[in-house]
Symmetry: C2
Subunit: 270 residues, 2 copies
Amino acid sequence: MVVYAGQGDAHRSLSLLWGGPDQPRPGRPGRTGRTGPKPGLSVDAIVSAGIAVADAEGMAALSMRAVGDRLGRTAMALYTYVPGKAELLDLMHDRALAELPAGPDEPPVGPDGLPVGPDWRAAVTGWAEALYACYLRHPWVLQISQARPVLGPAELAAMETLLRALQPAALPPQRLRGAVGALWQFVRGTAAVTAETRGAAAATGVTDEDWWLARSARLAELAPHFTARFPLLTALQSEGGADPRERDQEAFRTGLAVLLDGIAASAAGG
Amino acid sequence: MVVYAGQGDAHRSLSLLWGGPDQPRPGRPGRTGRTGPKPGLSVDAIVSAGIAVADAEGMAALSMRAVGDRLGRTAMALYTYVPGKAELLDLMHDRALAELPAGPDEPPVGPDGLPVGPDWRAAVTGWAEALYACYLRHPWVLQISQARPVLGPAELAAMETLLRALQPAALPPQRLRGAVGALWQFVRGTAAVTAETRGAAAATGVTDEDWWLARSARLAELAPHFTARFPLLTALQSEGGADPRERDQEAFRTGLAVLLDGIAASAAGG
DNA sequence: GAGGATACTTTACGCCATAAGGAGTTGTGC
DNA sequence: GCACAACTCCTTATGGCGTAAAGTATCCTC
């Protein structure tokens, strides 16, 4: 379950995200830092602690008190460094994405000087797999509403990497925007489904496969005319069956293939 | 900001989702309903009230108290009908999706008896636009984590509709699964972005366009070497410029076109 | 050494979901 | 007609949450 809890100050988030580590003191507006006790914490340390809590115990357990505890402070101590929880989440989000590889600096270049490479498919696939893996390493990121695009440096860097990978396909700008959006949303959504399957299975102490079986059985029991009501779904579920435990991986691979085919068509069609 | 707040009982959600209105009394396990005062509420009424609150005041304002107030009851009265807030959200989610049109019962059939129709693109486009519009009518649905796929009847019906629309493309099952996932995630993700843009603009009392301008200006100010660091992004943003206020619509259309091209390629390639 | 800025703590407020128990209402079986 | 069980709905209470407000201890500047 997810609750939207009021926006937080995106303005402040942006400052913190882009402020960098060079600020003499933690990022509150009018602070000189010439006097007073040395800060014992830092924004970075708080973000790390937050990620540690979320990785270990899930988003539900991520409270300001929990983060403070992990640092040997009270919850209120964090407010010296970070305006509030919403902004902390924004920072955690971008820090998680910062694990993504930057990719090669230069795309392959042909004799005509233009970027060239039949293998933009491989490059985009690599990008997508890296993002997918990152989401699965930090599933809590998927509960931070994508409806709050704060545009941190790591997120933008990831988009830039994708654009670089797509460069050889030479898409017209409009198509390029569409493709980038579709790819990003696809990876995120697919990762969310995978994360949930794993999480639910782990929480109930059952294998992924057994969990799916239990779910299906229960559905069939509750909706007796299931096959009559949803014939195509029923057919699809039984048909061409991959091992259910590999189904998520498969959905990722083939969905991505569909997207890449679409991009290829755009490239060809100009 | 979004918080994952503990799973709730998916088992109970499923019962409520599929139980239908034919249960003699609200859906608690061992109730006969032969005695006691007549129920003044119903699961349906509670779900409607929840949707009304969320539509009018957003997910942040959706509390059990708020829902109870709207029905002239206390928060605790709801627990007679619904096990908890998580399950209520599941019900609200499925009810929102129930607004989607079911689509024609039969796909067009050719002389060979197989479903046929060059216009599966139109059908899928129609499906995607309907889902997109539904999400924008109820943006709070997008904050319910997709990482809790409870599989209500309306959600499954929407998938069935999509499968029916895709039938003429005659995709192999593996590809079909990939395509369905990609389409769904794409619509959801794109709708989330649009919803956020509108929401943020509305909250600050500014047009979408001005909001984007302010955002860009602030980014440029905070990251002085922006263009050097993200050359492709910078280029893409300026290039081929649609009116920024139409950009979301455009991203939806062209992203969908990319997906459809990919599906067409799969159909051709068998 | 005084004074001010700063880090961090304690306390408190108003929310939240919901557990526990009680009051009033309705039907059933005697 | 009456006791009782079933049921709805309420009040109260618990333990969480984010964070405002105010206090204390630390350190630098003058």
